[in-house]
Symmetry: D2
Subunit: 297 residues, 4 copies
Amino acid sequence: MQMGMIGLGRMGGNMVKRLRDGGHTVVGFDMNPDSARDVDSLEALVAALDAPRVVWVMVPAGAATDSTVETLAGLLDAGDIVIDGGNSRYTDDERHAELLAAKGVKFLDCGVSGGVWGAERGYALMVGGEKETFEAVRPLLETLKPEGEYGLVLAGPVGGGHFAKMVHNGIEYGMMQAFGEGFATMMRSEYVDDPAATMVSWRSGSVVASWLLDLFENATKDDPELKNMPPVANESGEAKWMVEAALGLGVPTPATAAALYARQTSRGGADDILRVVTAMRAQFGGHITKIDEIATH
Amino acid sequence: MQMGMIGLGRMGGNMVKRLRDGGHTVVGFDMNPDSARDVDSLEALVAALDAPRVVWVMVPAGAATDSTVETLAGLLDAGDIVIDGGNSRYTDDERHAELLAAKGVKFLDCGVSGGVWGAERGYALMVGGEKETFEAVRPLLETLKPEGEYGLVLAGPVGGGHFAKMVHNGIEYGMMQAFGEGFATMMRSEYVDDPAATMVSWRSGSVVASWLLDLFENATKDDPELKNMPPVANESGEAKWMVEAALGLGVPTPATAAALYARQTSRGGADDILRVVTAMRAQFGGHITKIDEIATH
Amino acid sequence: MQMGMIGLGRMGGNMVKRLRDGGHTVVGFDMNPDSARDVDSLEALVAALDAPRVVWVMVPAGAATDSTVETLAGLLDAGDIVIDGGNSRYTDDERHAELLAAKGVKFLDCGVSGGVWGAERGYALMVGGEKETFEAVRPLLETLKPEGEYGLVLAGPVGGGHFAKMVHNGIEYGMMQAFGEGFATMMRSEYVDDPAATMVSWRSGSVVASWLLDLFENATKDDPELKNMPPVANESGEAKWMVEAALGLGVPTPATAAALYARQTSRGGADDILRVVTAMRAQFGGHITKIDEIATH
Amino acid sequence: MQMGMIGLGRMGGNMVKRLRDGGHTVVGFDMNPDSARDVDSLEALVAALDAPRVVWVMVPAGAATDSTVETLAGLLDAGDIVIDGGNSRYTDDERHAELLAAKGVKFLDCGVSGGVWGAERGYALMVGGEKETFEAVRPLLETLKPEGEYGLVLAGPVGGGHFAKMVHNGIEYGMMQAFGEGFATMMRSEYVDDPAATMVSWRSGSVVASWLLDLFENATKDDPELKNMPPVANESGEAKWMVEAALGLGVPTPATAAALYARQTSRGGADDILRVVTAMRAQFGGHITKIDEIATH
């Protein structure tokens, strides 16, 4: 199949490679003139594709995706298909779909998991949109996904792909936090000599065997106590969105929230909380001597 | 009434003053020769009291209380009463009670709240032990407690006083954390100009009016953003014991645990967790280029 | 001063009473013809007030407040003042303020705490808006608030009053959860005979003394084990909004979230989580015998 | 090698099979006369083994393991080896090791993961004890473990095997809770048509690919909404022990605790908390009319 790819960064670039290796024709565009782009404008990209066109948007969520979709709405024709494969919030998808639908352009949102490993392992793809549109681009999706029966799902209507990816990332947060809590507990205990080796041993036969644990072996190979890693983690938006979405749905997500909070705390988010706690303790614990300064209760 | 007080630190010293102001006769002992002690040994303390004696132990929980109780078991006579007013774990009380009971000495455990304010406000007292023993020392307890109908309870059998105090402190942790979370949220928001003044305004008429909020006003009077307070809080043992006790009873205590975890985190307890999270993210997020180093999943 | 009150339910009605007792003239309107309303339409309310008018809106947040503000924007004149004293989300306030500002009408948002006790104790008021507008209505606010120096604050610009109230309610959630965790722990323990009496004893002298604890005494007076209370609690929107706002600000609020989650869980929100846990346990724990049904990992 | 197995339940029985298939000679004993036991007493078991003997204890943790180890201490000779492969708490191991060491008998504790799948996949084994003892029984361990380089570790000194297994199970709790939170969120959302199919699609290519997710496919094959599963989960001791151990080490484990609390809550553990919350809300929210019953604050 033929496809246009907008955004040739690490993710987009690797996906183009996997698509071409799979026999597809991809015309690539990126804002960056130093990228391996085939055309130097969205207009040129659209001109280079045969109708009905398929255009995959793989640019940062938010303003960049918004403006790309808006521009595409002005350039594409009825029957063309736009796929947003970036990390957009699911609430943006309906807006994008409506904007494009006004021109007769179809829309799919596609959550993509797999990181840098996707080029080799294939990408897990979660798609939102109409079944007919999904089937129209299935050959591309089949090439991007891993071999075998898993890794591709039409999750639901427009927004469903990014909703599923958001939930996926929330789960990922919880799993990493769980491994972290176990590692940290063993690091402080005299009962376990080598926490990393112990965790790596679980890669086979244990209930917690997982791809994250496979990666953990690589991470600890030369740094078993992870001393080169900072005790700080950034957050991407998705776990936050999931906790928010669940709040609205009345679903308690304490483990996901705990994972998110651990990261926010590592970046100083709880500092003012602790200041209040310490200030109150100082008041009732006796560091204050001028007892008349406060009215008795 | 007559009583011996062992331990003349801030808490013990203030309690002696309140008792004497209330007309009781107190013989004080402390290990520290520079203290305002009346006698210089436990033997002398016991000798100075009329039988049946009442001895209040107000020394650090753990080894110090253990050895004091053991020594008292050897010095006191049947019918005497020992009150442990320190912060002992409730599980220690039964052991102490048995040790003393072997000599016919009675035992009460008494959780004491009130901090430095107790000298003026009176102390909230939670007692564990037999009703008869409790009644025997009631005149002392009535003097120590605040005026009015509240502030004194026979919570249950031996251990009940410290169990109640442990729960009390767990609640205190949760309340301080709740205030801290609110303050921190307002500190980062553009909607609230002066978070401290806003919180202080709640001292009257609001649902969160409380003694902790009264103290908060004092704490923020000269430092409304609490910039002089470190974003670190220590933990005493009691909230930890409460979370443990509740675990064993099958009662989930997520808010109390959150408050405890916030303090442990502020002291570096979560650092290794974050290292794992960051290490895993680095693996799948693309900072690793040698894809062959890890087996595909 | 003269004022119009829209909404004569429990809160609005009690506030009118307190204002009239304080010497103010209040014209009341409510949609309900059976209410103690003075006029039967918004038009009549506006006509009955002298310019510059002050109108207090005390109707349910959301659609009812939206439509009331919209109608008022069409009826009021430049220089008039609208106060939203309901439980609106702070994000609604800016929209309302802009709508009114287009007609020269000024706006204040006012979070009100105090519940049914406010009529007697006075209401804790948190206001958002311009200082000049705040001062213009100060006589009304001074009457509504409790006696003494606390209970009224200009928290910040438009939105600040409801933001502060939202945070206040989040703290309230955390405090109630903390008390609940303590009570539940004592209820299951053999160490405490009467958990309610023990908690009530903390009303004086203890660190957790608070208005909520005062209310707790009343609640447990005839039902010390709270057997007449259902183990289910509804949520109002405000704690949810606070957790969301804090998420966006990067502030971890685990205790507030725990309180919110406890309520959501009590209403079945976690049921599907438990189904997954139980299903997975059944799979690896041995309730499945046909080992060939699942591919080995 | 030759070995005695005490306890021929699902775990012990399957392990015997795997050992015999691997060429080892196993003498089995179980209290249950209907089991496939080879001997009918511990004495007979000991008599049937050549010195130095290896005896694997695979009975319920607590009293059953205690009494078995005590009996073995009286039957075995210096140089023999006892392996506790059950789910004992790590704090029991030192006691057992000392008891046996007094007779010159060596001890290993061995955490075993793998459930009913272990018979086929092999068991993940975590061992605590001395390296020399570990090496002496390595042929047995190599047979029990999965093929390949993973699945067996000498985690640390006596207690280390069960400590590692405890941490492993804590991680397992956190992972299952994370999957559950994701599933529950999707179940309530209109964006995802088939949450189970979406999760199953993640088995390949995604960051959350894991053995638990493999099992999830099997669990949802005929029941995609898990309607046949109760919204209740029991707890085994190990996650509770891990949360306790981490508390003592100063390591916050909020995700593990959240998973544990979710199970305790599902069994009614939070009911009294909600009763307090509802009772307090009723007090300040207006369901109480006799305002004089409570002292103003």
